[in-house]
Symmetry: C2
Subunit: 332 residues, 2 copies
DNA sequence: CCATCGTGTTGGAGCGCTCCAATACGTGAA
DNA sequence: TTCACGTATTGGAGCGCTCCAACACGATGG
């Protein structure tokens, strides 16, 4: 690692002032061509790279946005990030990502670090845990939240209406003649609660309250497999399983197959998210599709608005999801 | 957004000097309990958060590492990141992630930004494109590379021996009696070239050079589906398909099913990476397992060593992968 | 020929912090 | 009581940059 040249070095070499070098690197237009060329040449020769840390400190802004993602392994979040990133780069912002590792404290810590790093805004993707620390954060730095139902003037949010999603699932299964429909939930995961609620509401509204059966889980493949075991150990399998998301669904599916229970002939299975890989194999997974990329870019848009001018109220948008019917579900 | 209090403000409120506040926040031990308490109280009351930007600038280090990931959607990279992150946090470093979006220029740009942001080190995960700009980067900031075969003293690297992996695949298929084995490659993706080479070498060594058939692809689900169409349009299907990675394999699989070609009875299919979801369904995908998390943590370890003390030579490690036999392959 | 203007350029202060040398202040030894 | 010493605290310089007021200077107009 050679010692890093600074603007001062470049200025000296080019025979101009530090200020002039600064102007050149900011792309100012009132710099004579000769000097500009001299500066650029000197910078090139020295291998000079601007120190953005110093620049950000001096300017008081960083043109970067921090995103904290609840789980990097969740393909849904991956697509959301695409949307966020696309919108941000279009507007000259840089996106920096940190992993929340499905842990509320890690999430808050990562977000705080972003704050201390003076990012211009923060996007929380599927953040879990108590809202208070997150509100506290939102008071300090413009924040947008994705995939969680909240109502606050401190930040904006975009999510899918999970009650509608759950309703679509239950209606679909009910129409196919299934009665005992178990739900494996996402535990503490963002929107896990709403999906669970939506499931219960929907079950009631089709007269299946007696069959309400929530198996506690997590938004992971492993939790899905574990839940399948739990179901099996109870003796009688339900007619159908509504998994909290696709990751859970694939875990359930794999485990059921291992136990010689087949999908869909023995049990119908529905996921949630429409991850890219779940159409695979003889049997595609019936699931709920969320416009993930759009959700991401919309959240980014709200965030940039908020950075421009802090509004006195929060904007909270909920988008209706749709059911994608494949072959992991069939009539009873 | 309330105006941000600075150390000066805290110092003033606590009736001490700015330096003392600094000492408290650095956890210095030679500060009297009374003053420390006063400082902490003042900070609390003002809602003070240290500005890490300023701190990093003054200290000349940031205790953060930047990772540029070729493709956030690739589950293999996700697990690699886990490994990297685990090792780094253990050693007090923070991990910041940026997306390379499967594009060499985006990758270099992201890495440069990290450099300008004065990160202490950079991890390139599956970086593609010409090495020159990456070497240039490695000259400025300690760098480690994952999943790409290189030989340079400027940086360290950890990867899987792709030739061994390809060899395992071909041997497996050959032993099952398959002869025409097509390979769908990962295009410009890191290690795509080595897998392709490995495929060709292995095919030759089992006497199948006449059947060498590389279908150009990309490390994505979509490219896999497209390649399946390409194969189908040629009239005769190969006996088996060796997909460049699991993403491609799932794409191929899905598309084959759509075209009524079944796996494995009509075509045996092998993937690469052992992504968590591919065991799903009646038929699990036979694939190559890489110890991804270990690869990540090992790379992080090499990087931290390099940060401690710049070595005059690069360390390049290659780990042998293993074959996981599931049911997407069967005898001819 | 001098005042006026505009384009280019510059020095200095400042962003919020760290770090070091210098200082203040007890405390125990002489 | 005095001196030396160690501990706690402080002011100032500096990290690499931006921004602004000030300035130099050739071109313009009366």
């Amino acid at each position: 690692m050679q010692a890093k040249p600074t603007m001062e070095d470049v200025a000296h070499r080019a025979g101009v002032s530090r200020s002039l070098v600064s102007l050149v690197f900011q792309g100012a237009d009132n710099v004579s061509d000769a000097r500009r060329a001299a500066v650029l040449a000197a910078a090139e020769e020295l291998g000079y790279r601007p120190n953005r840390l110093a620049r950000n400190l001096a300017q008081g802004k960083s043109m970067t946005i921090g995103a904290v993602v609840d789980d990097l392994h969740n393909p849904f979040f991956g697509t959301v990030i695409d949307g966020v990133e696309q919108h941000l780069t279009q507007h000259g912002y840089q996106l920096m990502i940190a992993n929340g590792a499905r842990d509320a404290e890690v999430t808050v810590a990562a977000a705080s670090t972003f704050n201390e790093l003076q990012v211009d805004g923060i996007v929380l993707i599927g953040a879990r845990g108590p809202m208070e620390p997150l509100y506290d954060l939102a008071r300090r730095v413009p924040t947008a939240m994705i995939a969680r139902q909240i109502k606050s003037d401190l930040l904006d949010s975009v999510r899918v209406d999970e009650h509608v999603g759950s309703r679509l699932v239950i209606d679909h299964l009910h129409r196919l003649g299934h009665r005992s429909i178990a739900h494996i939930d996402g535990g503490e995961g963002a929107s896990a609660g709403e999906r669970r609620e939506g499931y219960e509401i929907a079950m009631r509204s089709v007269g299946l309250e007696a069959h309400i059966d929530v198996v506690p889980g997590e938004f992971t493949h492993e939790a899905g497999a574990k839940a399948a075991v739990t179901l099996a150990e109870r003796g009688s399998m339900p007619d159908a399983v509504f998994a909290g998301n696709d990751l859970i669904a694939t875990g359930v599916w794999l485990q059921l197959e291992r136990m010689d229970v087949s999908v869909p002939s023995d049990v119908s299975l529905v996921g949630y998210d429409d991850a890219p890989f779940i159409g695979i194999g003889q049997v595609g997974l019936t699931t709920i599709r969320q416009p993930s990329s759009e959700i991401g870019s919309r959240a980014a848009e709200l965030l940039l608005d908020r950075i421009d001018e802090t509004p006195d109220s929060g904007r909270h948008e909920a988008i209706a999801p749709t059911l994608v019917e494949r072959s992991s579900t069939e009539s009873a």
